[in-house]
């Protein structure tokens, strides 16, 4: 559950791509504070800069200006060793499960790599035990999977394996970039439930990147609404969705079809 301890914060983050005439500002002066155990959704349409912001938090893109602090200290990413240390705390799940897997390696290798990444020295049985545990957490059977290649699995299964990976690595911060937009409605609820369980059991902070306001409302404590690189509204999920202040937020909510309210199609 959400605590008051700040895990990661950003001040005046800006990312500019290109130079001269072709300059585009993807993220424009964004500040945030994410707490330990909090679930945050960054909501925006394509081109709103939400993925760019996520990549900056992940440390895959360098910020043009502004700064990010992690656990109270300014984040250092200059040397590979620094990055490696930072990345021990942070993991990600991406939108497209098909491109998240290296199709040349069996499922087993993905899980074995997690054990190696943690620097654990385990016997064969202990390794097997750990992998089975991770698979059963996401309702998959290790026995049926370990010998398969990713392309032999369904999208939902692949995405659940990605969660099994997170389960094994238990990072402090998880960035989930549209993790359910390519799976069907039922797998979606399973995946969301698993992510919520991970938060409850490990006190993980989760950042959802999504265009789906409904999903963001359902899973998160805090919402950040982004439009053209800027955060236009942020706050507790309940406040933002039930009493939206900014016209863009209102429009976003009204564009989503609902079941109990009429949908204004005029």
């Amino acid at each position: 559950m959400k605590t008051n301890e700040v895990l990661i914060s950003g001040k005046h983050l800006t990312k500019v791509f290109g130079y001269g005439k072709h300059k585009t500002t993807a993220v424009d002066d964004v500040s945030f504070e994410f707490h330990k155990g909090e679930i945050i959704s960054i909501v925006g349409e394509s081109g709103s800069g939400k993925t760019t912001l996520a990549k900056m938090i992940m440390g895959l893109l360098k910020e043009s200006s502004g700064s990010i602090s992690y656990m109270g200290k300014p984040r250092q990413l200059k040397r590979h060793a620094d990055r490696k240390k930072y990345w021990k705390h942070i993991q990600a799940i991406f939108q497209d499960p098909f491109s998240s897997f290296n199709q040349f390696y069996k499922v087993e290798k993905l899980l074995l790599d997690c054990i190696r990444l943690q620097g654990l020295k385990l016997s064969k049985e202990e390794q097997l035990q750990k992998m089975k545990e991770a698979c059963s957490f996401v309702n998959l059977k290790y026995e049926e999977l370990h010998n398969k290649y990713p392309f032999e699995l369904s999208g939902g299964q692949m995405q659940r394996l990605m969660i099994a990976r997170i389960f094994m690595l238990h990072p402090q911060l998880l960035i989930a970039d549209e993790p359910t937009s390519m799976v069907d409605a039922c797998s979606r609820s399973t995946i969301l439930d698993m992510l919520l369980k991970l938060r409850d059991e490990n006190g993980m902070t989760i950042i959802f990147i999504t265009h789906d306001v409904g999903l963001a409302y359902y899973v998160s404590d805090t919402l950040y609404i982004m439009e053209r690189g800027k955060v236009v509204e942020s706050g507790p999920a309940e406040d933002v969705i039930i009493h939206p202040q900014h016209p863009y937020t209102r429009q976003l909510i009204s564009d989503v079809p609902k079941v109990h309210e009429a949908w204004d199609l005029s």
């Binding site: 990345w87 991406f94 491109s99 998240s100 897997f101 040349f104």
Partner: protein, 278 residues
């Protein structure tokens, strides 16, 4: 990986090329063990037509043309192989660096690659060949390789720069893997088939290039290659003497080798290129 090899074996085009090539390699490896004569030894009169003793007749020095042809094919294959290795290795390194690192380095390396594409490589080849005094077949092959890498580099760069943004590469990055490891395990497997195809193509064009410069008399010294056999035929006016056996078999051999390599290439293309496959 085994899977792709298995589908390859089912491709008639690839198999035709591979069988032709292997047959040729087999013959040129085994025949010199049976006929232990020196190919440069003069054993007959000039331009004797083929008969039961001299399978392909003799050249103007009275040397056994069939034996010469066997050694010639051997050298040509060697030259093609070495040129292919050089071109593929250079193209791969430059393409990977340019595609994976991106930014300024990409701009720079792409510019260099484009310059090499624009300058006719054959001219460079001739200029270098003329300026070097001692040309072994290895040096010639190396020169051919060094002038023909840009196409491989280009293809590798394009592939790499699109793979770089795939999510499994991002996951490998935030798992803290080093760049060489990511290139080795996350990028290379995806482009391996393209690289093998490019290698086969480079080998074929290397053989053609060697034949061309050898025919101009700029090829390697102290050896026999298919191009050199044709150069001799040309210099000593075999066509005028009506001695078709002095150059047709050599020309045909070049055609068969490159044909088999191109067949292998198209066979692989059909299998590895998902657009054509589906």
């Amino acid at each position: 990986m085994n899977h792709s090899v298995r589908i390859l074996l089912k491709s008639p085009k690839f198999m035709l090329g591979a069988v032709l090539l292997l047959l040729m390699i087999g013959v040129v490896m085994i025949y010199p063990l049976i006929n232990r004569n020196d190919p440069l030894e003069m054993i007959a009169l000039a331009y004797q037509p083929p008969d039961s003793k001299l399978l392909l007749g003799s050249d103007n020095f009275g040397r056994d043309l069939f034996l010469e042809l066997i050694y010639g094919i051997r050298t040509s294959l060697q030259v093609g192989l070495i040129a292919g290795v050089f071109a593929t290795a250079i193209g791969l390194v430059i393409g990977l660096a340019s595609g994976y690192i991106g930014g300024m380095i990409d701009n720079l390396l792409t510019a260099v690659t484009n310059i090499f594409i624009v300058i006719p490589s054959f001219v460079i080849l001739i200029l270098i060949s003329v300026s070097i005094d001692s040309r072994s077949s290895f040096v010639t092959a190396a020169i051919i390789g060094i002038t023909s890498w840009p196409w491989t580099a280009r293809a590798v760069r394009a592939q790499t720069s699109s793979l770089r943004n795939r999510d499994h590469v991002n996951i490998a990055k935030i798992s803290g893997y080093s760049t060489p490891r990511i290139i080795m395990y996350e990028i290379l497997p995806y482009i391996a088939s393209y690289v093998v195809m490019a290698f086969v193509l480079q080998m074929a064009s290397g053989i053609l290039a060697e034949a061309s410069i050898s025919m101009l008399g700029l090829g390697p010294y102290n050896t026999i290659s298919l191009g050199i056999i044709m150069n001799w035929a040309l210099v000593f006016e075999a066509p005028v003497a009506g001695a078709w056996w002095a150059f047709i078999p050599a020309a045909l051999s070049i055609a068969v080798i490159t044909f088999s390599l191109y067949m292998m290439n198209t066979g692989m293309d059909e299998i590895f290129n998902p657009k054509i496959r589906s």
